[in-house]
């Protein structure tokens, strides 16, 4: 929380990088650009993303 673009995406990317496929991550971010960028990141990298609530997101590694 409190981190602006692109830090939330960099951090989730680093977390997912060496994860086993299907690993579930939870991302907390109040940067208003996070959801848009997380979706774009998911499209570009093949990881599955979804929004839980306004500042909480879930990522499932590919």
């Amino acid at each position: 929380m409190g981190k602006l673009c692109p830090l939330p995406i960099i951090e989730i990317a680093l977390a997912v990088k060496d994860a086993l496929p299907g690993t579930i991550f939870r991302l907390e971010s109040d940067d208003p650009a996070t959801w848009a960028d997380l979706q774009a990141w998911g499209r570009m990298t093949g990881n599955h993303v979804r929004i839980i609530e306004r500042t909480t997101f879930e990522v499932i590694s590919k």
Binding site: L4, C5, P6, I9, I10, A13, D31, P32, A33, A36, D37, Q39, A40, W41, R43, M44
Partner: protein, 354 residues
């Protein structure tokens, strides 16, 4: 090594052909063109000649050409003048429309923001009674072209500010052009009301004038000269600009990883928007500036209100690490090669994998 033209921002220098005319226009533009004195008549003649040029190139009738000293006001005039006060009609616009359109929409009773796809494409909806469509000729950030609005049965406001040269639709109602889009001086819009349109002046007004405020006649005269010169430049360089666009696309796809190109392949060739994953756009813009390249960005960290480009967000494109490139007739392949090499190096440095 030859000099590099490093200016890739949406604001360009005044066209050289217009600069001298602008200075001359300031000398002659002090009079009131509505009066009968000799300086006034001379100025009125110059403005009439300018209107003829605007009308011919922009596809307007000369009598419909009016000058707006504040182009943003043209959005309000063009849209609100078409909305019927007592109607339940909707103000319909693509989600990627300019912020000025969205600001007007937020002050109207009913509006409809149309979804766009990953390429910025959208569909013309069926008009209900009283509906008004805002039709941008293209998107000013990505260059994505708008679908033909000919099937829309209601009035149409044309946002022609991204590119003046795309033809107006047959049934346009009001249209707005921005002098800066043809390397003319800033501070001048061309606003037109189709003589077939049901337009009512939405501003408090005393007389028949369409635009309430004044404008600088020197800017109008210089802008007409810039438009003529820009048309010639564009005609000569249209193939070159398309080739430069292809060079940039090919380089981005082959030489830099994790790039999201927001501008679709058939977009206006002089506009290119793309985003680098994991890159802070502010750092990239600063570093490129230090290397002599001025570029724009739609990322949140660059914008005045710290909000990411609503265009990129609506398209589902990456909003961070965004770069916008505006190609001009004077750009050469050497300029582009230098720009791309600098981008590649700076992205690698910022990603920490140089």
């Amino acid at each position: 090594m030859g000099s590099v033209t490093g200016l890739f921002t949406s604001e360009n220098r005044l066209h050289p052909a217009a600069r001298e005319i602008l200075l001359d226009g300031i000398d002659k533009g002090w009079a009131d063109p509505a009066k009968l004195h000799r300086p006034s008549r001379e100025l009125a003649n110059l403005l009439t000649e300018s209107k003829v040029i605007f009308a011919r190139i922009l596809g307007l009738k000369e009598e419909t050409v009016t000058f707006v000293g504040e182009p943003t006001l043209g959005f309000f005039l063009g849209i609100n003048g078409l909305l019927q006060p007592m109607s339940d009609g909707r103000l319909i616009y693509p989600a990627t429309a300019r912020q000025e359109v969205i600001a007007v929409a937020q002050s109207t009773r009913r509006s409809l923001s149309l979804e766009v796809d990953l390429d910025g494409g959208w569909k013309i909806p069926q008009a209900l009674p009283g509906d008004l469509l805002v039709w941008p000729k293209a998107n000013s950030e990505t260059g994505a072209r708008s679908p033909s609005p000919e099937s829309f049965a209601g009035p149409i406001f044309v946002d022609a500010t991204p590119d003046p040269m795309i033809s107006l639709p047959t049934r346009w109602s009001t249209a707005l052009f921005d002098s800066r889009s043809w390397s003319g001086p800033a501070g001048l819009g061309i606003f037109a009301v189709n003589d077939q349109a049901s337009w009512r002046n939405p501003m408090p007004h005393l007389d028949h004038r369409v635009v309430p405020g004044g404008f600088n006649p020197a800017l109008a005269i210089a802008s007409a000269v810039a438009l003529e010169a820009d048309l010639i430049d564009r005609t000569k360089t249209i193939t070159k600009i398309s080739e430069l666009n292809s060079i940039i696309r090919n380089f981005l796809q082959s030489e830099i990883s994790d790039v999201d190109i927001a501008s679709p392949a058939d977009a206006l060739p002089h506009l290119l928007s793309f985003s680098f994953l994991y890159i802070d756009a502010q750092q990239l813009v600063d570093r490129m500036e230090r290397r002599g390249f001025s570029i724009d960005s739609g990322s949140a960290c660059i914008s005045a209100n710290l909000e990411a480009s609503h265009v990129l967000a609506a398209m589902g494109r990456l909003t961070h690490g965004n770069v916008r490139i505006h190609l001009y007739p004077e750009h050469t392949q050497s300029d582009i090669t230098s720009l791309l090499q600098a981008l590649k190096e700076e992205v690698a440095l910022l990603r920490g994998n140089s």
